[in-house]
């Protein structure tokens, strides 16, 4: 019945820029389970990477340290060789000592060629070997030289190759030492970095997931509240992807559809109940014009000859007027009881309220309640459904009648609202008032203070639905012991075109 309500968005919910408009079943699917699985996989991949990396770096370090040990031995040997070379040049000691050390150095290189090559690369290794063999060649030449002059001629090239050989090796050993230090430092720090990364990731995932879950849960709580208040528009939670919540939303929507259907059945029964109440009163109301007509017509036939033309005319006019009066009473009830879809029209609110008071006139009279209606002149028109608006006011008046003792008073006021562009209707009674602790629940569906079977508890919730749909509001002020006033505010309409948009 109130399908149009679906367009109303709750201002309390932040809809944001999220894909509210995309139908649930068209959203790409990533379940919460998948999200959790992805998070765990991320953890695993990260830990795995770090472990593999650590293993790799430690292996590399192992090789480098091995290399450094070999290099150290090698360095010792070639330095020894150079020392004996110098001794030979100075004191002509045995050159074989130098050659022996060089041989050992060469053995070290040859035996560990694979390991050294791994670190230095084949080019540098070959350079190293070639420097050493060149130096070796020079040493052999030196030993073979026949005289001092010939020896002196060889010395510069011998020194050059010797220092080249040593400095080349020293440079590499130094470089490797620095690299090893760096790698140690890295191997020490990476686990710390890793731990921090894991921590940040964990916090992020935890915060993100729980925030998302909590926000969505809150949103679902809002939905249940909204449904509780009688808004049966389907829910479209802001989920970018299809997940468990989307499935929950679909289940909700199914439930809402069923509820809406049952609610409509209830609304119809509520209206029927109101009609039932009114019919008794209206039938009563019919008796007066019927009685006037019957009395007048009877007297007209009875005294036909004796009556003057003028008297006859007056009596016939009375019959016509009273028949029309009866017609109005019937029409008013039929207008109210008419079944059908919402019909928006430009309406005079004062006339709507007045018709409503007329519908309940007998209930009011029977309860010996005093009802007064004050309408401000020149009220703007409003756009609304006549029948539904009457339902609201009839309902408010009957509620007041129900709680008022004889001689109680109902004052209805129709005037322009202080807020420009709105019309304000107040229905005030001096009844017992409504306890503060139930004032908040009074608009809830099925909430009733009336004895069982007397009230459905739907009247005010239905009324609120009707008024809300027209862009207005209904609220109440009540002081226990003093009375209650229901305040209805409805937007005024200047142009008929606004009707179409509602």
């Amino acid at each position: 019945m109130d399908q149009h309500i679906t367009d109303i968005k709750d201002p309390d919910i932040d809809y944001g820029s999220e894909p509210e408009n995309i139908p649930l079943h068209q959203r790409p699917s990533i379940s919460i389970r998948a999200k959790i699985a992805i998070s765990f996989s991320l953890f695993f991949i990260l830990s795995f990477t770090v472990t593999v990396w650590s293993y790799w770096i430690l292996t590399k370090l192992e090789h480098k340290i091995e290399f450094l040990e070999i290099a150290d031995n090698y360095m010792v040997e070639i330095q020894q060789a150079r020392r004996f070379e110098k001794n030979y040049l100075l004191y002509r000691t045995d050159l074989d000592d130098a050659l022996g050390h060089l041989k050992t150095a060469d053995k070290i290189l040859k035996n560990n060629s694979e390991k050294i090559e791994k670190i230095l690369g084949p080019n540098h290794f070959n350079t190293m070997v070639s420097y050493m063999s060149k130096y070796h060649d020079q040493l052999i030449l030196l030993g073979a030289a026949e005289n001092d002059a010939a020896k002196e001629a060889i010395v510069p090239s011998l020194r050059q190759f010797g220092s080249q050989m040593v400095s080349f090796a020293t440079e590499f050993v130094e470089k490797e030492r620095i690299s090893v230090t760096r790698m140690f430092l890295l191997a020490k720090r990476v686990p710390l970095y890793f731990m921090s990364a894991i921590f940040v990731l964990m916090v992020f995932v935890l915060v993100f997931l729980t925030r998302q879950l909590l926000l969505t849960l809150n949103r679902f709580m809002e939905y249940t509240k909204r449904i509780g208040e009688g808004d049966f528009s389907p829910i479209t939670p802001a989920r970018k992807y299809r997940d468990e919540f989307t499935k929950l939303a679909e289940a909700f929507n199914h439930m809402i559809k069923e509820l809406d259907h049952k609610h409509n059945v209830l609304l119809e029964s509520h209206k029927l109940r109101a009609i039932g109440t009114l019919v008794a009163g209206v039938a009563h109301e019919l008796n007066n014009p019927l009685n006037n007509t019957l009395l007048t017509a009877s007297m007209l036939t009875e005294d036909y000859e004796a009556l003057s033309d003028e008297e006859k005319r007056e009596m016939i006019d009375d019959v016509i007027n009273e028949t029309e009066r009866a017609q109005r009473v019937v029409k008013n009830l039929l207008d109210f009881a008419r079944e059908g879809e919402t019909e928006m029209a430009l309406l005079k609110i004062d006339k709507i309220v007045e018709d409503s008071t007329r519908l309940v006139v007998n209930q009011v009279r029977f309860a010996k309640v005093d009802l007064t209606l004050d309408c401000e002149p020149n009220l703007p028109l409003i756009a609304g459904d006549e029948q539904k608006l009457k339902q609201v006011f009839v309902n408010l008046i009957l509620n007041a009648v129900d709680v008022l003792p004889p001689r109680g008073k109902i004052r209805i006021n129709v005037k322009k609202d202080k807020v420009p562009g709105y019309v304000l209707i107040t229905v005030e009674d001096n009844g017992p008032g409504i306890d503060e602790h139930i004032q908040g629940r009074i608009f809830e569906p099925f909430f009733t203070t009336k004895r069982r079977a007397k009230g459905t508890g739907l009247g005010l919730s239905v009324s609120r639905g009707i008024i809300k749909k027209l862009g207005g509001y209904i609220k109440l002020k009540s002081v226990p012991g003093k009375g209650t006033v229901f305040i209805v505010s409805l937007p005024a309409t200047d142009s008929p075109s606004e009707i179409m948009s509602k």
């Binding site: 009563h284 008796n287 007509t293 019957l294 009395l295 009877s298 007297m299």
Partner: protein
């Protein structure tokens, strides 16, 4: 029919009722006064008692039951006839238990009321 004319009071806030019942009931030679408000009717009754009071049960300020009580309190012999919107058992029982002579349901013909008044006048004169 040389009997003393009866004094009849008709109270109904529908003015057509008084307008039509006055000539209808005066045909029997009785004196009829019509009122639209209970207050003025009771004030008039206070000046001099009437023999028969025909009153509508539902009226704005004072309803028919109250008029019945106040009239019987003043004049026990007065016959009060209640006009009801429609005859419910409760209203009829209440009216009769409070001393109404009879009741008549709307809508009725003048002749229907005249029959009741005739019975009432018989009782008054017996």
């Amino acid at each position: 029919m040389n009997e003393q004319p009866l004094k009849i009071m008709v109270i109904d806030d529908e003015n057509i009722v008084g307008k039509r019942l006055k000539p209808a009931l005066e045909k029997t030679g009785d004196i009829v006064e019509a009122f639209e408000e209970g207050e003025t009717a009771l004030a008039r009754f206070a000046q001099e008692p009437f023999d028969i009071v025909v009153t509508d049960i539902r009226m704005e300020k004072i309803d028919g039951i109250e008029i019945l009580e106040r009239i019987l309190a003043k004049s026990q012999r007065t016959k009060v006839i209640i006009i009801t919107g429609y005859a419910t058992v409760e209203i009829a029982r209440e009216a009769l238990s409070k001393g109404a002579f009879d009741f008549i349901a709307k809508p009725f013909k003048p002749s229907d009321l005249r029959q009741i008044i005739e019975r009432a006048s018989k009782e008054l004169r017996s």
